[in-house]
């Protein structure tokens, strides 16, 4: 079982969360070009190793947060994000 450090609820089983994917800067929809927007939508870093990603605590506080996870070992560390 993988534990995720929810900044609001503490460590909980990964089954309580929904993975929302790699986090990165989102282009401003009012000024972005089509190419930029599609790159943002579709292209992935898909790293084998440490990755910054979003999770949603659906079965808990129902808030979004970011963690760092090693995609090879599934080791997780908090990002020092929202508290």
């Amino acid at each position: 079982m993988m534990l995720l450090p929810c900044p609001w609820c503490g460590p909980r089983s990964a089954g309580e969360f929904r993975f929302t994917g790699e986090s990165g800067p989102r282009p401003d929809p009012t000024t972005t070009t089509t190419d930029e927007w599609r790159s943002y939508l579709y292209l992935q870093d898909n790293p084998c190793g440490w990755s910054r990603e979003g999770w949603y605590h659906g079965a808990g506080c129902r808030r979004f947060f970011t963690v760092e996870r090693n995609t090879l070992s599934n080791e997780v560390r908090a990002t020092g994000g929202p508290r």
């Binding site: 990964a14 292209l43 084998c48 990603e53 995609t71």
Partner: protein
């Protein structure tokens, strides 16, 4: 144009000549039974040449099939297949071996149908028993929206000449008597998409058959040879770096499925791929009782019975991206529960094994095949949870793409450029759990 040098002849590293494809037949079986001699090796080890006309990264069904058709259909034999572990060690040796062509888009149906046709003749073509069993494939609908998608798929399939029909619970019960088709279940079965030509195959045999065929045509298969870098000069490929040294080559094909982002990164090509583990499990073997492949998208589960009698269970990908191939208890619990909802009499069966493989998921559930912005660097990736069935057609098409320097018509919709052009080929409705 790529020219081939004499890969098929001359001494190899072991000192013996690469053999011509020696036939397996009733006669050779009988003769070897009498004289008790060893069977010749099906493929050989070689020293690494310092250059090849083409280098294929990944010794799964896709890499090996491409090598085979490059040599057989196009006479390009000075080819190396580089595999970091052993051939079939990736998804090609870990999948649940379901073949079918009842997809949703015309591009998809046509493409997968060609693959099923190639599979039908593959045992004869390769002189290797791949045990293709066309036992029929059932996708169950438990709600109105899946039923509607199935009618849609049936019509698209029929237009392409693919045998597909929607059937009701009575006919389903006839085909699979052990299914709970009653109305008192949590998700009653409303109907199913029935696809008679679908079935299962012996996946290892397909991998070994292509390896043997490619080897006989002069292709070098290098196992335990990991690619660590790709040399690109002035926008074109000039070679690859490996754990056994550098190879100069003008053509590189990335056929590494779950690892394909890492390989494309080496050439500086960004990809719309995310790697997810997919798990499967088998039970202890029992007498044959299940003649069809049964899939339920709603319950995220599918079941078939192997020729050895084991029940093979699969599901959808793990809920988060990862390169880890460890199984999980969540998967076992989930699959057991869902299988029992479908077939309650299986409650006494015991699980024998559970394993995982890596799947290269794309945003539209369609593959990515063809050239890239780096000249000479090709991709055959994005096979997600459904790429085993496409091995033959993808190999045939990628070989043509490399030999003719442009993608053949049958894969023209699947180029890497479709994402930035906004021309996605949405197959989620037919590929999310169906395999």
């Amino acid at each position: 144009m790529v020219t081939s040098t004499n890969g098929a002849h001359g001494q190899n590293g072991n000192g013996h000549r690469p053999s011509r494809l020696r036939d397996y037949s009733a006669w050779t079986l009988f003769r070897r039974g009498l004289d008790g001699s060893d069977w010749p090796r099906a493929w050989h080890d070689h020293d690494l040449r310092s250059s090849y006309d083409a280098v294929i990264i990944g010794g799964g069904v896709h890499g090996l099939a491409t090598a085979y058709y490059l040599a057989k259909n196009h006479g390009i034999r000075n080819v190396a297949v580089l595999e970091k572990s052993y051939i079939g060690g990736g998804g090609s040796g870990r999948n649940t071996a379901i073949l079918r062509s009842n997809y949703l888009t015309p591009e998809g149906v046509r493409f997968y149908d060609r693959s099923v046709k190639l599979y039908e003749h593959l045992a004869a073509d390769l002189n290797f028993n791949v045990m293709f069993s066309q036992r029929g494939h059932l996708t169950l609908a438990h709600n109105d929206s899946s039923l509607r998608t199935m009618h849609w798929r049936t019509e698209v399939n029929k237009l392409q000449g693919v045998d597909s029909e929607v059937i009701g619970p009575d006919k389903i019960k006839e085909l699979v008597p052990y299914l709970d088709t009653s109305e008192r279940t949590r998700y009653p079965i409303l109907g199913a998409l029935y696809h008679p030509p679908g079935g299962i195959i012996r996946h290892d045999a397909v991998v070994w058959g292509y390896a043997r065929g490619a080897d006989a045509h002069g292709v070098h298969i290098h196992q335990k040879t990991e690619v660590t870098g790709i040399d690109v000069e002035h926008g074109r490929v000039t070679g690859v770096q490996t754990t056994r040294g550098r190879i100069a080559t003008p053509i590189v094909l990335n056929a590494t499925a779950g690892w394909s982002t890492l390989i494309s990164n080496m050439a500086g090509v960004k990809m719309p791929v995310q790697t997810f583990p997919l798990q499967a499990a088998v039970t202890e073997p029992v007498k044959p009782f299940l003649d069809t492949v049964v899939v339920s998208g709603t319950l995220h589960v599918y079941v078939s019975q192997s020729d050895r009698g084991e029940l093979v269970f699969g599901a959808s990908v793990d809920p988060f991206a990862s390169y880890s191939i460890r199984g999980s208890l969540e998967f076992t619990e989930g699959i057991a529960g869902h299988v029992l909802e479908l077939m309650p009499p299986l409650s006494k069966m015991r699980l024998l094994r559970q394993w995982a493989g890596l799947c290269d998921m794309t945003p539209d559930y369609s593959p990515i095949m063809g050239p890239t912005d780096v000249e000479g660097f090709y991709v055959d990736v994005g096979w997600g949870t459904y790429g085993f069935k496409a091995g033959p057609v993808a190999g045939e098409a990628m070989a043509a793409c490399i030999a003719d320097r442009r993608p053949p018509e049958i894969i023209s919709a699947f180029g890497l450029d479709r994402f930035l052009a906004g021309r996605l080929v949405g197959e989620k409705g037919a590929a999310a759990v169906g395999h």
